[in-house]
């Protein structure tokens, strides 16, 4: 999007369309209206404070609020005493019919519908929320007048399907006027400007406040380009809002009384709404699903960004509570209390700060606020004071614990609550229902659950359910012990052990995942399809197939299996294909326990993965050194497959042929060459003397690092050759003895790496063989540590007096 400059040094550089005279004229016109347009900034205590005064003064018949039209169904929840912010209005639309033609562009595949989502976070001091509570108290009718999500999609989701976060703090971020004010007012960012100009000034007349905010908004808005506003969808929203305002006005009894209709919108909109004609839009109720969900302060702080949003939700909450408390009212007390809380938390993290320090913070914060021209202490004054007073030394060393405490206290980690009697989120309800049916108790305390998978069918169903919760990342269950089919660990175990705990976080995740589906099962299916469609790696896709089976979602296997054929065909990564083979074989071997015997294409998939992996063998010579180990492990896995898998006719010769072709190429990674040579030996395609000839070829001129790598690769596949084949052993022995001192030292690290593949017992055997060869009866072990000791011992025996000569 294009935008005018986002920073400038002087008003003359601002490129604003407005003049002071023009501004005053516009404000007079706004104030002359009988409809009162109350300007707000979202999550602002000052705006809530003055809005209440305006409502008390004007006693409106109706209040119109900038929230999604149609979300009024949530009013009972929003007005319930059992609903406690932070909460959010969550809008979502799943484009199953590809109406917006963005499936496959904003989703992994055309078959996967895009899930559009929007949040309107609400805290106790949000002006919109406060208006709703006052409306309830004073029995004033309320209507929401903003365009809902479905209508905004063409404007906001062109580039990305990242969830849309209301409110439109972006207008403040992209604002040269805000940047200019920051410079003039000696503020570090726009948020501090806001704090200085508005948030810390709670003793104004409310009309004065409104006028001040009108002036600011008019100048700020004029520094945004029309193109930007058009692209943001601001114009279309404002026309709709004006349409709703005019419609509501028709129903007002006392049309001539100023303030009988009160409109609460973002200040950027308040200053243009009076001048618009209004234009409606078709609202599709079915497509615009809006529910109320619990939210967290953390989410709010993260989502709104530092520049213009709400960096410290809990801080403002404390101030608001103070302000609303008739016994306190003075928000300065909140600052002192917060300083003490930060002190306590800092001490938890090992910082030695005292009550005296906290008092000093309070005084310093007040002085900073006063110095910065604020009527009362603000957020930045508190943070700066804490920084100066609590950090007693180098910031790098003493800072982290203080900053951590600050974040925790000022941002907070509170969860909101929705009235349980009024809210029913299908996904949450389904989760609770299934847990109840499976007799899984939902308790906050962590509980250990043991499932004997082969004993009862219920245990199997429980296991599937728990795997589903893990897949949805609900944080409900964690398998601490049991067969891990993905990693091929503990496969001998017949029971799973899970830690489960049900808490607010699980609920919030369930509620927030509503766009995935109405049931846990459907949500897993949706997510599974999305992940499957977005991966081009057969290894990942096969793993998802296994995960689906673990979750008991066998109905989707056929469909995913068809897609997997295509993925395997296009996969050009050897490692991925062997991984796919691995997972598919596991799926096959455990089909009885996974109840997937009905999945017929499995053997065909296995064969296809094998053939494709084999075709890619020549490509693995070109890998980097850091991939060696992984690739050789895959070669090993492929070889094991050929040797052990009997259920299909595996064309071994295809693999052997490819290896031979690959090895005729002189260039490439030598460790991989060694591994492939080892495979040929394991498959009886190469004899021992051929191996030793090849090794000798590397070391003709002395120590060869390539030779060392080759030996390493060879040993990774068939290290038993050194233990079982005497002639091979003798050849290696002779080879090492022929090295000069320098060559030996050069090759030592690589040989050490190769010999680290042997177990201690095997090292002992090798050492004994060497001793026997040299007729050494007694061996003394040098107790240093690990393989180095054994290697030195081994090398010492090989070299005879070489170490003595070298003075070691």
């Amino acid at each position: 999007m294009t935008q005018r400059n986002t920073s400038c040094d002087n008003m003359s550089d601002l490129d604003s369309k407005e003049t002071m005279e023009g501004i005053q004229k516009k404000i007079r016109k706004i104030e002359d209206q009988t409809i009162v347009y109350f300007p707000i900034k979202h999550h602002s205590i000052a705006c809530s404070h003055y809005l209440e005064k305006a409502i008390d003064f004007y006693k409106p018949e109706k209040i119109l609020i900038e929230l999604p039209f149609g979300a009024e169904v949530n009013l009972p929840i929003l007005q319930s005493d059992l609903t406690i912010p932070p909460i959010a209005l969550h809008s979502f639309y799943v484009d199953n019919l590809n109406i917006f033609e963005l499936n496959g562009k904003l989703s992994p595949d055309e078959s996967i519908p895009v899930r559009f989502e929007g949040y309107h976070p609400i805290v106790a001091y949000s002006p919109e929320y406060h208006a709703i509570q006052l409306a309830k108290e004073k029995e004033i009718e309320v209507e929401f007048i903003d365009l809902p999500l479905y209508n905004i999609i063409p404007y906001r989701f062109k580039q990305s399907s990242i969830s849309l976060f209301y409110p439109d703090e972006r207008y403040y971020e992209f604002n040269a006027y805000g940047a200019l004010l920051a410079k003039k007012l000696r503020c570090r960012n726009f948020h501090e400007v806001w704090e200085t100009m508005f948030e810390t000034n709670l003793d104004m007349n409310f009309q004065e406040f409104m006028r001040k905010l009108y002036i600011f908004s008019l100048v700020a808005r004029s520094s945004l380009s029309e193109e930007f506003l058009e692209q943001e969808g601001a114009n279309i929203r404002e026309e709709f809002m004006k349409y709703r305002i005019k419609k509501s006005y028709q129903d007002i009894q006392e049309k001539d009384r100023k303030g009988s209709l009160l409109v609460v919108t973002g200040a950027f909109h308040s200053v243009v709404l009076p001048f618009l004609k209004g234009k409606t839009q078709k609202i599709r109720k079915k497509e615009n699903v809006i529910i109320t969900v619990p939210y967290t302060y953390n989410q709010l702080a993260l989502s709104s960004g530092y520049q213009s949003g709400n960096p410290a939700p809990r801080y403002y909450d404390k101030l608001w509570s103070n302000l609303r408390n008739p016994d306190i009212k003075d928000i300065k007390i909140a600052t002192l209390n917060l300083a003490l809380e930060v002190k306590n938390q800092s001490r938890e993290y090992g910082s030695f700060v005292s009550v005296a320090d906290s008092v000093h913070v309070f005084r310093m914060a007040q002085n900073l606020g006063s110095f910065r021209g604020k009527e009362t202490t603000g957020y930045y004054d508190l943070v700066d004071a804490v920084k100066s007073v609590f950090i007693k030394g180098d910031e790098k060393i003493y800072g982290p614990s203080i900053y951590r405490a600050l974040d925790e206290i000022l941002i907070g980690d509170e969860y909101g609550t929705i009235d349980p009697n009024l809210s029913t989120t299908p996904l949450l309800a389904d989760f609770q229902y299934r847990a109840k049916k499976l007799r899984i108790k939902l308790a906050a305390a962590t509980k250990l659950m043991r499932l004997n998978l082969y004993q009862t069918s219920t245990a199997k169903l429980k296991s599937q359910f728990l795997h589903q919760t893990v897949f949805l990342n609900l944080g409900f269950g964690e398998m601490i012990k049991g067969p891990n089919l993905i990693k091929k660990e503990n496969l001998h175990l017949l029971a799973e052990q899970w830690n489960i705990a049900y808490n607010r976080g699980v609920e919030i995740k369930l509620i927030s995942s509503i766009s995935l589906g109405n049931t846990v099962r459907n949500a897993c299916l949706t997510l599974l399809r999305e992940k499957f469609a977005s991966t081009g790696e057969s290894g990942v896709a096969s793993e998802l197939l296994l995960v689906a089976a673990q979750m008991g979602l066998v109905e989707v296997l056929d469909d995913l299996g068809k897609q997997l054929i295509d993925i395997i065909d296009k996969d050009r990564d050897f490692k991925s294909l062997v991984q796919a083979l691995y997972q598919l074989v596991a799926l096959y071997n455990y089909q009885e326990s996974l109840l997937t015997e009905g999945f017929k294409p499995l053997l065909r998939l296995i064969e296809q993965a094998y053939i494709r992996a084999t075709f890619l063998v020549p490509s693995i010579l070109l890998i980097q050194e850091d991939e060696e180990e992984t690739v050789i492990e895959k070669i090993k896995a492929l070889t094991n497959f050929i040797l052990s898998f009997d259920d299909i006719e595996v064309d071994k010769n295809l693999f052997i042929g490819q290896i031979k072709t690959t090895l005729t190429n002189g260039k490439g990674n030598h460790a991989v060459k060694g591994a492939l040579t080892g495979v040929l030996y394991s498959l009886h395609e190469k004899k021992v003397d051929e191996l030793t000839r090849e090794i000798n070829g590397y070391f003709v001129g002395g120590a060869s690092l390539d030779g060392g790598s080759f030996v390493y690769g060879l040993f990774m596949i068939c290290r038993e050759i050194l233990l079982l084949k005497e002639d091979f052993f003798d050849r290696i022995d002779n080879l090492v003895c022929q090295f000069s001192n320098e060559d030996f030292l050069t090759i030592l690290p690589l040989f050490r790496r190769s010999f680290s593949l042997f177990t201690p017992k095997e090292i002992d055997i090798i050492g004994s063989n060497v001793a026997q060869k040299r007729e050494i009866e007694k061996m003394e072990k040098i107790e240093i540590s690990g393989n180095l000791a054994e290697l030195l011992h081994f090398a010492d025996q090989l070299a005879g007096s070489k170490f003595e000569e070298m003075g070691l």
Partner: protein
Amino acid sequence: MAKEKIIREPTEIRNRDEIEALKQNDTYDKPENWFLSPRMVETFILGSDEVLEYEVKDKKKKIKITRKFYGDNVLVQRSIITLASDRGLLLIGEPGTAKSWLSEHLAAGISHTSLNGIQGTAGVTEDQIKYSWNYAMLLAEGPSLNALVPSPVYVGMKDGLITRFEEVTRCPREIQDTLISILSDKVLIVPELGEKGVLLARKGFNIIGTANTRDKGVNEMSSALKRRFNFETVHPIKSVKEEIEVVQNQTEGMLESDNVKVEFKHDIYELLVKTFHELRKGETTDGVKVNIPSTVMSTAEAVSVAYNSGLYARYYDDGIVKPKHLAINIKGAVIKDNNEDIQKLNQYWDLIVKRRGSNNKDWSSYYDSKKYLM
């Protein structure tokens, strides 16, 4: 003081016009005994675009306040407010990050003198912090105020002035702790003088300490003393553009003060500052990793290299500062006590300077001067 005989004027003299203009335009509240209000002290240090009118000897003048400190503006605000409180200010940071510079300007703005100070060393004694005696007078007259030789802390307390204490953590710990009761109770007792020996600090008194984080001392300061200070960590300048401005301004000022006329182009400053910036950070501006020398590549060192290059160009060359002059002088700045740093410098030359030299003549000339690093 005759200008030509002074190596370096204190800031209150160097910037006397600005201070006078600020004083005459100061309408803000100020703590008792402060020369300028906190707002004007801030303006003095951070500069302003506003043109101030002032009068000197009945002549009307105009002046713009120049920026003195480049870095975190909010740090300056916090420092000023700290000095208006009952806690001292301790500026800590790596060498060359303008701690003493800031301390000097704060003292000049608040008390109109930056000269009331102590230099911390391992040999500092309690006498140098509190008071000592003129022993001749002591013997002649016995203990009296006349015989007492006040320390800068004593003077600061008596006259309500900011007292600077440079490198406070270099002093032995037990000597540092002398400050505890001074900062805590704001009283200094001279037992030898009996009742007359109680000095209560006047309003306006405070202490600005500085400490170097490369020395271990800052972390070994007693907690009792730490509690009496607010700490501010001064970081190196983050913005290359700002650092160029600092180095250029400082160097030009120093060369002008020495009456050394040279041609020193902005591009050459940029070349120097980029070198320092990138070696300090361990990464070039385009994201290439480089090894960090063990020496602190501070802005002050960059100024020193620039200044020396100016002198070199003037006295050994044609008066035009070239990249080779930087190369000649940079070695001494980088290589202090660790010979591995020469390898790191060479690596930087081979990896970064050479690459940039392929399409920029200044960097090419810079690379060609590699021989001077040997």
